[in-house]
């Protein structure tokens, strides 16, 4: 009986780890960036999104890498058409600056929005979005660059501008303002395939009680396991390994389960 209770408690303590393909978009193309600088075209984003849905993705992230006003219509149209055939949650980020921008993206078919630059410049935006549309759709995107051991600075505008914000402090403040989730990208690891910045992920997951999506650096299954187990990430965003067919979602899900992680049964 005691053993059974213990087993049950262990099973129930952690939520299912979410496996999330991240699709960075530039104009009409799916791209893959290397440390947020060099870019390569990969293909048509909808084709990839459809395949990931069929393969059992738990969610999809679209991130507009250019995020100009000009490209906004292209992104909205992409979201609209994707939402007609992909029936899992879609998070959209890149250049959203106002609650009205958020509304337009939700109406197009996004379930959540990821906001970075505009929130670092005007943190009240987080509260406005959370109050108007619910905390659950307000994802704070943090692009983190290591400044010293165990210290990271948040960058904005696609990693081009510094904010002076300490990542852990910023995450806590955003939680207080009503952010429902954090998309945490290591700028140092993004595009390197050298693995996630585990210290960064752990520092943020320890500091907040909202879910944290680890992003940037996944090149192998071991990287995912480290982010989930040592980093205690709630969700894993992955790009290169999926886009280039290094690993497939069904295999990732199977291996995660073999290694004792809880994932959605499919």
């Amino acid at each position: 009986m005691a053993l059974e209770a213990h087993r049950l408690a262990g099973q129930l303590t952690l939520a299912n780890l979410r496996l999330i393909p991240r699709l960075d978009i530039k104009g009409p193309d799916l791209i893959k960036s290397v440390q947020l600088e060099g870019v390569r075209k990969v293909g048509d984003p909808r084709t990839f999104a459809r395949r990931y849905y069929a393969d059992g993705a738990d969610e999809i992230i679209y991130m507009d890498a250019v995020a100009s006003l000009y490209s906004r219509d292209t992104l909205t149209e992409l979201v609209r058409r994707t939402a007609e055939e992909v029936f899992v949650p879609i998070t959209v980020g890149g250049g959203l600056r106002t609650a009205d921008d958020v509304r337009a993206m939700l109406r197009a078919g996004a379930d959540k929005v990821a906001i970075n630059s505009a929130a670092t410049q005007r943190p009240e935006l987080i509260r406005e979005v959370a109050e108007r549309f619910g905390a659950q759709c307000m994802v704070l995107q943090i692009d983190a660059k290591q400044a010293q051991p165990q210290r990271w600075e948040a960058l904005r505008d696609g990693g081009r501008e510094r904010t002076g914000l300490d990542v852990v402090e910023w995450a806590k403040r955003a939680e207080g303002l009503g952010a429902g989730e954090i998309l945490l990208t290591s700028v140092d690891r993004e595009g390197t395939r050298r693995g996630f910045d585990i210290d960064l992920i752990r520092a943020v997951t320890k500091a907040v009680s909202i879910p944290v999506i680890a992003s940037g650096g996944m090149g192998s299954m071991d990287h995912l396991l480290a982010a989930a187990i040592e980093g205690t990430a709630d969700a894993i965003a992955m790009a290169h390994v999926l886009h280039y067919g290094v690993l497939g979602l069904p295999e990732i899900r199977r291996q995660a389960r073999v290694h004792g992680l809880k994932v959605r049964p499919i």
């Binding site: 408690a9 129930l12 303590t13 952690l14 939520a15 299912n16 979410r18 849905y53 059992g56 738990d58 939402a83 007609e84 055939e85 029936f87 899992v88 949650p89 509304r103 939700l106 109406r107 197009a108 078919g109 379930d111 109050e131 108007r132 549309f133 619910g134 905390a135 659950q136 759709c137 429902g180 989730e181 009680s209 909202i210 879910p211 709630d234 969700a235 959605r264 049964p265 499919i266």
Partner: protein, 213 residues
């Protein structure tokens, strides 16, 4: 083809719900006022965000009484997420606010603290298996019929319903050690805390079941 009417009261997931229903083969019409409800075959009330906000929007569009009348009329009704929460007596988000009162019970915040004093993740975001509630004798004949084993659905919420009548609980899920009411049923009035329109093939099966009621 099944006809379904979706209530538009400004909810963010309106179009996602419509798209999923169309994908299931339904003929979907959208109504913004009470007038369209009288002739509806079946009704879906979507929802995201806060319950008080949603009630205000329903009131502003004159939908409160028509929704109550619809629920009494023995036609299928499905509330999704906050669209289900508004069907209850009252909610405790940003103060106590009355709901439509179609179902007895309250909408409460998921406890933020676990039994051992550690913090539970709120909002509850993610995929959880649906578990038959204690008083339910299987899901046959309900919108949860014919699902695979351990059917997982997508949840995105901080508040959960607590029905007065345990018999109204159709399904539950576990979120970090606490049982959360995942679906309710009272006659042909159904509610899902999860988002069937975002729950992959499991969710589409649930919507098809609703369309076949």
């Amino acid at each position: 083809m099944s006809k379904v009417t979706v209530v538009d009261y400004g909810s963010g997931n309106l179009l996602s719900v419509c798209r999923a229903l169309r994908h299931c083969g339904a003929e979907v019409s959208v109504v913004e006022s009470g007038a369209g409800l009288a002739s509806a075959d079946r009704l879906v009330v979507p929802g995201v965000g806060a319950m008080a906000d949603s009630m205000r929007n329903l009131e502003a569009r004159g939908l409160v009484e028509p929704l109550r009348a619809f629920a009494r009329s023995d036609r299928p009704l499905l509330g999704i997420c906050v669209g289900m929460q508004v069907m209850f007596d009252a909610g405790e988000e940003f103060g106590v606010h009355p709901g439509l009162g179609l179902l007895g019970g309250r909408v409460r915040m998921i406890p933020g603290s676990r039994g051992d004093g550690t913090r539970r993740k709120i909002p509850h975001i993610g995929w959880n298996a649906l578990i038959p509630a204690a008083r339910v004798n299987g899901w046959e004949g309900t919108i949860l019929a014919g699902l695979p084993e351990e059917p997982a659905a997508y949840f995105l919420h901080s508040f959960a319903v607590d029905p007065d009548d345990d018999g109204a609980r159709l399904a539950e899920c576990e979120h970090e050690g606490v049982r959360v009411c995942a679906a309710v049923k009272s006659g042909l009035v159904y509610g899902c805390q999860f988002h069937p329109e975002k729950s992959g093939e499991v969710g589409l099966t649930i919507l098809k079941n609703f369309l076949a009621l």
